[in-house]
Symmetry: C2
Subunit: 369 residues, 2 copies
């Protein structure tokens, strides 16, 4: 095999496929990136058996062939080269020469035959959304998945298609995150549970450009994301997701309208006094047009007042501050609405159009003073 | 005690004195920052017993007094506040209230009497250099100190004053770094060995401004740096420093002139193939107007050629690549001169005026091929 590519094209390709290289594995072939030039183009592949990524990069094939190279070493070597044309060639003994200007490095590759290629999946009826939208919706929901081994559903997110609506949901037993997205086209109803790890890695390589589309193919065992020159194939989580509609409710006794940044800053400040492992709630004392925030910890106590618009009853309710912070960080609205029923019922943060719905369970607390 | 200061002034003061707060200590009072308002100004102090820092910050004293606050907690609280006026007040029970706009936090301080104030040192005949120069000279020499417990001199740097020349030197048994600085004024001959830790922390709080001066006072046991509103007091390393003049030599058989960036990039690339713990030298094969670099490691081998200007003999010599990289990173010249005698003698990298002299010992290697 012999190919010539620019350093920048190699770096771009490596950046993409390295997201599917496992950090820990006992199978050394999984730590490799496969360079496959047997099909007339230069393909980089990586596959950790749950998640596989293939991308096509620009360059010239001088001699067809295939070689697997240790991902970390290969990436570091390319990064260290001058910004110029790079030649990669290997002989029948897997000796690989990487040369660029006056520099040449010899390393030993692995046999491409040992590599696990991506599974073949039938691709029908893609769902199309922009890269920006997909990247954003992952960011806005991924924080409430759980690594909890008891219920593997919680390690994934539900992607549910109904007509032109895509609903993305995640939950971890304490909170639920839901985003609804209007798509350009309408589709048959379909749903899939996608592993959080796949979505995390995917969001790192999506361009964040609203003009560029992602094609999503859903099959029995796999989901495929196609965009630019890249294909991401992931296993799905099989089974029936939680019935989230039954967990939602539009009942409330108190509706609060509050400046999001002020609320986020206030709760973040309160957590400064909470040492790691010390599970202290932040207590909201909701009065007329004002919330008093209070947090009492092992190192001291915290008090702050914020003016709000309030409809309905006064309330006193406690939350895990981290759960509120996670939600507030991903909402872009300047002002948000919070709906409370009573101190033991979930609180809802949602917009009028229900583009987003966040549910957070309250925690018990003992009143002080 | 009651004071009112802007958040930004508090942050600036905390940034400075926190450099003298030890990361690990069994004495909890050392983890504190002392706020001392007994002398008519607001002073922040920290002292890890080797290094003490005092700085005066702007603000209004409403009530004189003194309190010691846990440095990490205090810093985090101030950082989290709105960008506004902050009031800090404490009662006789050490209860400390930090308030700002609608936020208030209560924490418990420590008794200021437990705090170790900075040692009193007589201040005569300061040596004056600019903050920029001091910051730079530390950066250019600090990498070749050693934590070696066998010889405590190696943990410090020699500051040696002769007339208007300041010579700063450090060595670790494998290499020597020397910088000579012309000062505006002349001084009596004097020298002092300053702990590397002091210089590291000092360089972080120096402004890097050529207009601002540092006043350096040297006494038997301490060295003091005064600049802006800040005083840094450090113990010194007592004893006689190495006779470095005896280690230097102007003899050479080969003089090489080479582009610094090309050399640095080349050696950095070679280290990509060296796994941690694998002590491989980089071998320089110096021929006519050309150096061939070679490095053979457990993962592969590296070859590169660089054109140079050469006077004198051909040479083949090996180095620990890290030692060369450290030197090359701190030299600002575009081209540098390297002087070689033979494969067992030190190599010198120095400029004609001897503003800098770097000595690096070669390593043994077995020739390949």
């Amino acid at each position: 095999m012999k190919i010539v590519c620019s350093k920048s094209d190699l770096i771009e390709g490596l950046n993409i496929v390295s997201k599917a290289v496992p950090s820990k594995t006992t199978m050394s072939i999984l730590e490799c990136i496969l360079i496959d030039c047997t099909k007339g183009d230069i393909r980089f592949l990586a596959n950790d058996m749950d998640l596989g990524i293939e991308t096509i990069i620009s360059g010239t094939i001088k001699e067809k062939g295939v070689i697997a190279l240790d991902a970390g070493l290969f990436f570091n070597i390319i990064r260290g080269l001058p910004d110029s044309e790079v030649t990669i060639e290997c002989d029948g003994e897997l000796n690989t020469l990487i040369s660029c200007e006056n520099t040449a490095m010899n390393i030993i590759g692995k046999n491409g035959d040992e590599f696990s290629y991506l599974p073949t999946v039938e691709k029908n009826n893609p769902v199309i959304i922009s890269q920006l939208t997909l990247k954003e919706v992952i960011r806005q929901t991924i924080f409430s998945i759980s690594d909890n081994d008891v219920n593997k559903m919680m390690a994934g997110e539900l992607f549910e298609i109904n007509g032109d609506n895509l609903r993305v949901a995640s939950l971890d037993g304490h909170r639920i995150s839901i985003r609804n997205i209007k798509m350009k086209n309408s589709y048959n109803s379909n749903k899939v549970i996608i592993p959080g790890k796949t979505l995390n890695e995917l969001s790192k390589i999506l361009s964040g450009n609203d003009e560029d589309d992602v094609y999503i193919y859903i099959s029995d065992k796999h989901v495929i994301f196609e965009f630019d020159n890249t294909t991401v194939v992931s296993r799905i989580i099989e089974g029936e997701y939680f019935k989230i509609d039954q967990m939602l409710s539009d009942n409330y006794e108190t509706k609060i309208s509050i400046n999001k940044k002020m609320l986020l800053d206030c709760i973040s400040r309160a957590t400064i006094l909470i040492k790691e492992g010390d599970k202290r709630p932040i207590i909201l004392n909701v009065g007329d047009n004002n919330i008093k925030f209070h947090c009492n910890t092992t190192v001291g106590d915290f008090n702050e007042n914020i003016s709000v618009e309030k409809e309905g009853k006064d309330q006193m309710i406690g939350f895990n501050p981290k759960f509120l912070i996670d939600v507030l960080k991903v909402i872009d609205d300047e002002n948000i609405n919070i709906y409370l029923l009573n101190p033991k019922s979930p609180c809802f943060i949602k917009d009028e159009e229900k583009n987003y719905i966040y549910l957070v369970l309250p925690v018990n607390f003992t009143t002080v003073g």
